[in-house]
């Protein structure tokens, strides 16, 4: 068999303009959401509703970062669930420790 050259021919493919624009579009969405959060931080009375809006907007940002930047939306269904399902333990921890925090508060004050 003929000896092959060790350096394979590299073919640089041209960039797909639409794909690049898609990446920048995600960035614009992330910046826009952050700007909205900023405005809300200074214009709304603090309370449960404000916190709720912040949580929703943060999840929106997380959705774009994990789904588009980390490419999870384009992976196999099984991989998506393997990553998403275990995060319900985080929700569980959030509930029990919020409860715990209020319990400590009512003990001390």
């Amino acid at each position: 068999m003929e000896h092959h050259d060790n350096t394979p021919q590299i073919e640089v493919q041209p960039a797909d303009k639409a794909k690049i624009w898609g990446i920048w579009k995600v960035m614009l969405i992330l910046l826009a959401v952050t700007a909205v959060e900023f405005v809300i931080a200074f214009t709304m009375e603090s309370g449960a509703i404000k916190t709720f809006i912040f949580v929703i907007l943060t999840i929106v940002k997380a959705f774009y970062i994990v789904g588009q930047f980390m490419h999870l939306s384009h992976e196999k269904k099984s991989l998506i669930w393997a990553i998403l399902l275990p995060t319900m333990f985080i929700v569980f921890l959030l509930f029990i420790l919020s409860y715990q925090g209020s319990a400590i508060f009512s003990l001390l004050y």
Partner: protein, 239 residues
């Protein structure tokens, strides 16, 4: 034609016996995902601990204008973080942390562009975007160093350390150091990893390998660092 392809008798092998990749992701990428999942637990634990501690202290009630730092209640973050470098004495609440968020999101974008260039085997573009990503990471670390320094020295009060701080209850500063410190350490590790992959790109190691999957793997880690910052920004600075 290609002398790197290894033929496996795919027809007889089951998916989990090495015939095909489980979940259509390479071993390295899959393990990076599971590592990041475990890291997400660690960060969630820290942030939820912050929430719990905050709930166990009284909240400040009253007009924002009349707010003064006190040990009696949890501080309002926008009153603590209102300094910007070179603008001494000007009250610009959350502006600097907003700039830091912007820098980290931008460096995440340059990382996606590096991954995209890697798919096209465009070595020069990978180098360029990796370099921008590293620069973004270093800038973020610099900003954080300034913020820590300002936080520790304080605004004419006792400043802050792990046992006492001028802003509020001791736990406030302790959690600030823990959470932003742990995140900053991740950014630092990310910059180191990015630099290693940048180096391997420039010397042509990845090109010789025939693919730029390593860029994707460190990219996953880098985006995760950005993701964590999004949560830290909301739950530490905004709420």
């Amino acid at each position: 034609m290609s002398n790197t392809t290894v033929l496996v008798d795919g027809g007889k092998m089951s998916a989990w016996a090495g015939g095909t990749e489980p979940m259509k992701a390479s071993y390295g990428k899959l393990m990076m995902w599971f590592f990041l999942l475990s890291d997400a637990f660690t960060f969630s634990a820290l942030l939820i601990a912050y929430g719990m501690t905050r709930f166990s202290y009284p909240a400040y009630e009253g007009a924002i204008e009349d707010f003064v730092f006190s040990q009696a209640y949890w501080p309002v973050p926008e009153k603590v973080f209102e300094a910007v470098p070179f603008l001494h004495g000007v009250s610009l609440p959350l502006v600097f942390v907003g700039i830091m968020t912007f820098i980290l999101i931008l460096s995440s974008v340059t990382m996606v562009l590096a991954v995209e260039a890697g798919h096209r085997m465009d070595k020069t573009a990978v180098e360029k975007w990796m370099l921008w990503t590293i620069l973004g990471g270093l800038t973020f670390l610099g900003c954080q160093a300034w913020e820590w320094s300002h936080f520790i020295h304080g605004n004419g009060g006792v400043g802050a350390n792990l046992s006492i701080n001028e802003y509020g209850p001791p736990n406030f500063a302790a959690l600030f150091f823990f959470i932003t410190g742990f995140h900053g350490f991740h950014v630092f590790s990310g910059v180191v990893l990015n630099f290693i992959i940048f180096y391997q790109t420039t010397v042509g190691k990845l090109e010789k390998r025939g693919h730029y999957e390593m860029v994707e793997k460190v990219g996953l880690y880098w985006h995760f660092v950005d993701l964590v910052w999004v949560f830290v920004f909301t739950f530490f600075y905004l709420v």
